[in-house]
Structure formats: C-alpha cells, structure tokens
C-alpha cells in the first residue's frame, strides 16, 4: 500500500505567556492510502495539533508532513477538514454552504447546484437545502459540514472530534453513515476522537497518543471485519481491542522526569 500522509519527526511548541509548551514531540506516523485511522489520547496530547498540521492550518516547528509525497504548504481542497464546532457559515443556507468550496474552485453555476444537491441528498438534508444553520440541530449541522467537505471531492478527510458534541444516537447514525461512504468511495480518513468505542468501531488502526509532551504512545491494529455492524460492536473481539485501547489511553506511565 502506498503512503498517503507521512509525518516525519513532527514537533510543535506553543508560546504560553513566558513558557514554552511542547504540544508535539517528534511524531513519526505513516497513514496509508484509503486507510481509516483514528487518533485517541488524553486532553493535551496534541491530537488536534497533529490534524491541523496535516490540514496545513498550523506549521510544525520542526519536521515535516508530506501528502502524496509532497510537503504540505498551507491548506488545500485535496484535504477536507471537518471541525467539532461545525464551522458552517451562518449567513449562508445549507445549499450555499455546500456550494462554497465549489464556488471558490469556480465551478459553473449549474454544475455547482447539481453537485451540492447530490451531497445534500447523500447526508439526508434534502428538505433543508434552503434552511439557515441556526434552524438546524447539531446533528444536521454536522451533516451539512460533511456534505460541504465531500462536495469538493477531497481524497483525504481530516475529522477533528466531529461527533463529540452530539447525542449518542445521532453519533451512531453518523458513524455508520461515515463508514458507508468510506467503503463506497475509499478516501483516506484521519479521525480524532476522545471516545475509545468510536475509535475502535471506525478504524483500521487506532493511534494512541500521550500527553506532556504530546507524542505517539501506541499503535493498535483493528482487525475487525467490514462492514462494521451492531453485532461487531457487541462482539468479544471488539471488547478485547477496546480494552486494550482503553488501557493504553488511561494507564499511561508518565515519562521519567516530566512534571505531572
């Protein structure tokens, strides 16, 4: 398998007042083409920073990220990003939000409308195409954000705790929907979450990170079959992997000499 995203000794420090805060310390990680990778870890482990570096929204202080073997220089429509806070443009309707990226890419009006319509239908918002975001529920907003990201046809999806703010039922629905589109279109997905069940259910591989400084802790392969179903969620194999990930996340021994 070819490598899609490659983190090469990526470090990032932030200036907090007079102190330097090491968000990421020499992270090496390869994500294969069409792989679904989830990243979990305690808060402050730099998982969102890692995603933002891949998105080109933050620059690493050291090391580099390569996508398709080219160094990342700023954000681009080849990497769709889905934010936890939805980040819909509140002054645009669902349709206009989904068309935004197409408009930037100067896609002709008729085709733009049609493509946006297709993805709005795909995420089940057909009846709300002309609604403003303020009238939508959290789940619907995130669906709209997903449609907006799909519309520009990125071959990488970077998702930063996208379902974190949703209720359990909506979350499961969106997880299944995400897996269904991933199976159909085979994009590379990097998915940040703090929910261990979610991480295992979605992934081919779970990346567990540790905090202070943010670094890779353990990589756990998820050899569960596809398509993922309710039965898999209840299987012994799932529970075993879930427990392993849980242990890796919550029973990390601190690095020697690092203050807690």
């Amino acid at each position: 398998m070819t490598t899609k995203i490659s983190f090469r000794s990526v470090s990032r420090t932030f200036q907090v007042g007079d102190n330097e805060f090491q968000a990421l310390d020499r992270v090496d990680l390869d994500i294969a083409d069409r792989e679904f990778v989830t990243v979990v870890g305690p808060s402050g482990c730099g998982k969102s920073t890692l995603l933002n570096i891949a998105a080109g929204l933050i620059e690493p202080t050291d090391g580099e990220v390569r996508v398709d073997d080219r160094p990342v220089a700023g954000p681009g429509p080849d990497r769709g990003v889905i934010f936890q806070q939805y980040a819909l443009f509140p002054w645009l309707t669902v349709q206009q939000n989904v068309e935004f990226g197409l408009k930037v890419a100067k896609v002709a009006r008729a085709e733009r409308r049609q493509r946006a319509r297709h993805f709005i239908d795909l995420v089940g918002l057909s009846d709300f195409a002309d609604a403003l975001p303020k009238t939508l529920s959290g789940g619907m907003r995130q669906r709209c954000a997903i449609a907006r990201a799909y519309a520009v046809n990125p071959n990488i999806l970077l998702m930063d705790e996208p379902f974190g703010a949703l209720d359990a039922l909506t979350r499961v629905q969106l997880q299944d929907q995400l897996l269904a589109t991933w199976t159909a279109e085979q994009r590379t997905v990097m998915f940040i979450t703090h929910d261990v069940d979610e991480a295992v259910y979605l992934a081919n591989r779970v990346i567990v990170m540790a905090a202070r400084p943010g670094r890779l802790h353990e990589v756990i392969d998820v050899d569960l079959p596809h398509p993922r179903t309710e039965a898999i969620r209840l299987s012994e194999r799932f529970t075993a992997i879930r427990n392993r990930v849980w242990h890796a996340v919550y029973h990390q021994t601190p690095l020697e000499g690092t203050p807690r």
Partner: protein, 244 residues
C-alpha cells in the same frame, strides 16, 4: 407589548399636561406645543429647519460611516494599519466632538463645512471602533473552514470577514447615528441661519418654551425614525444570527 408602549406614551403626555396645568415654571402644555407646531408648520419654518438639520446629519453621518467601514477593515485585517491608525482613533475618541467646534470654526470658517465636519467626526469615531471590533472578532474556525475549502486571502475577506462583521458595523452605525444627532444642536450654534438647533437657540432668547419643545420633539421623532430604519436594515442583513 405595543399596547404597553402606547399606554406609556399616553400616560407620559397626561403627566406632562398635569404638570403644565399646575403651572410648573411656565411649562407649556401639550396643547400649546401642538398649536405652536401647527404655526411653525404653516409658515414653513419647521420644514425648512428640519430639512436643514436632516441634511447636515445625513451628510455627516454618511461620510463618517463610509470612511469608518474601510478604515475599520484596514485596522482589523492589517496589523501595520492598526498600529499606525489606532493611536489617533483612541486619542480623538477621548475628545468630545463638540470640543472640536472652536478649532473647526477657525480652520473651516462659519459655513456648512465645520457643522458637517463635527457631525462626521462623531459618526466616524463610533462606527470605526465597532467595525474594527467586528473584524478582529470573526471566528477563526470560520476563516479556517474557508481556507481548507481552497479560499485565499481575498476570498476569505470578501466571503467570510465582511459578512461576519456586518452585525458589528450596523451596531456601530446605529451608535454613530445617535452621536451625529447628539452633535447636531451644538453644531448649529456655529452661526447657523436655519436648523432645529438654531431655532431652539433663538427661542431661548425670547423665552419661547413652546418652540423649544417643538424642536426637541422633532429631533426625537426624526432620530427615532432613522434608528428604526437602520434597525430594519439590520434585521434584514443579519437575520442569520442566532439571537437569544
């Protein structure tokens, strides 16, 4: 709600009538003021005065807002522009525009220019700060969302920063309009030949309280109408906002 508003107005006028009837320091009653308003309307004075005042406020306010919006955007978007402009804005904000009047007379003469200038200044200073605040408080996530969809700086500015700061600009314009009205009467003390402020100033010399009341009420009503118009524009342009 509207009923309560009407009730409050009726009660207020009744209270005013009662005070006037009790003979509180020569206070004219609502009726006397209405009669005076009729006279001033009939001989055309009120319309001429209102038109002169309205013209000054509108010109000053329009120029002030028209300059404030681009300057506010410049300050919010470019750190260099902010560094260069902000000291002046902050300094002039601490000087009431009325305090500029003596200087304006000396430098700009006694024609329309100094009057419009101080009104312009009042409107500009209120609006520029609001616009600047609007630009710097645009949600970073929205800017990032546009960038990951392929938008460059120009598109981010036009399609994200401008619409996102519109609510702030409109609030700034409403405050600016209030400031423009507040400055009007004082501006008309500068050798004016007509205008609501001038008329009230004249009436004061002759102890003509009724005319002063007509002037005050006209200023209030015109200000209210303009504010409502801006509020309607605000509702239309920023209806997408989530309001509590």
């Amino acid at each position: 709600m509207a009923l309560l508003n009407v009730l409050a107005v009726v009660l207020g006028i009744a209270g005013w009538a009662a005070l006037a009837a009790a003979g509180v320091s020569g206070l004219p009653g609502p009726q006397a003021v209405a009669v005076r308003a009729g006279e001033l309307l009939a001989d055309g004075t009120l319309l001429t005065d209102a038109a002169a005042s309205l013209r000054r406020v509108l010109i000053g306010f329009t120029l002030g807002s028209a300059l404030a919006v681009p300057v506010g955007f410049l300050m919010g978007w470019y750190a260099t522009a902010r560094g260069l402009i902000e000291p002046y804005i902050q300094f002039f904000r601490t000087i009431p525009p009325l305090a500029i009047i003596p200087l304006a007379i000396v430098l700009l003469g006694i024609e329309e220019t100094p009057k419009i200038f101080v009104i312009f200044l009042a409107a500009f200073l209120s609006c520029v700060v609001a616009t600047f605040q609007g630009v710097v408080s645009v949600d970073n996530t929205l800017i990032n969302a546009a960038r990951v969809l392929g938008a460059g700086d120009a598109v981010v500015f036009r399609r994200v920063v401008v619409p996102a700061s519109t609510p702030f600009i409109l609030v700034g314009m409403r405050v600016g309009l209030g400031a423009a009205w507040a400055t009007l009467v004082a501006a008309e003390l500068i050798a004016a030949q007509e205008g609501l402020g001038y008329r009230m100033q004249q009436a004061q010399i002759y102890y003509d309280l009724a005319t002063i009341f007509v002037g005050l009420i006209t200023i209030g009503v015109l200000g209210l109408i303009m504010d409502r118009l801006l509020l309607m524009a605000e509702r239309r342009l920023t209806g997408w906002q989530e309001r509590r």
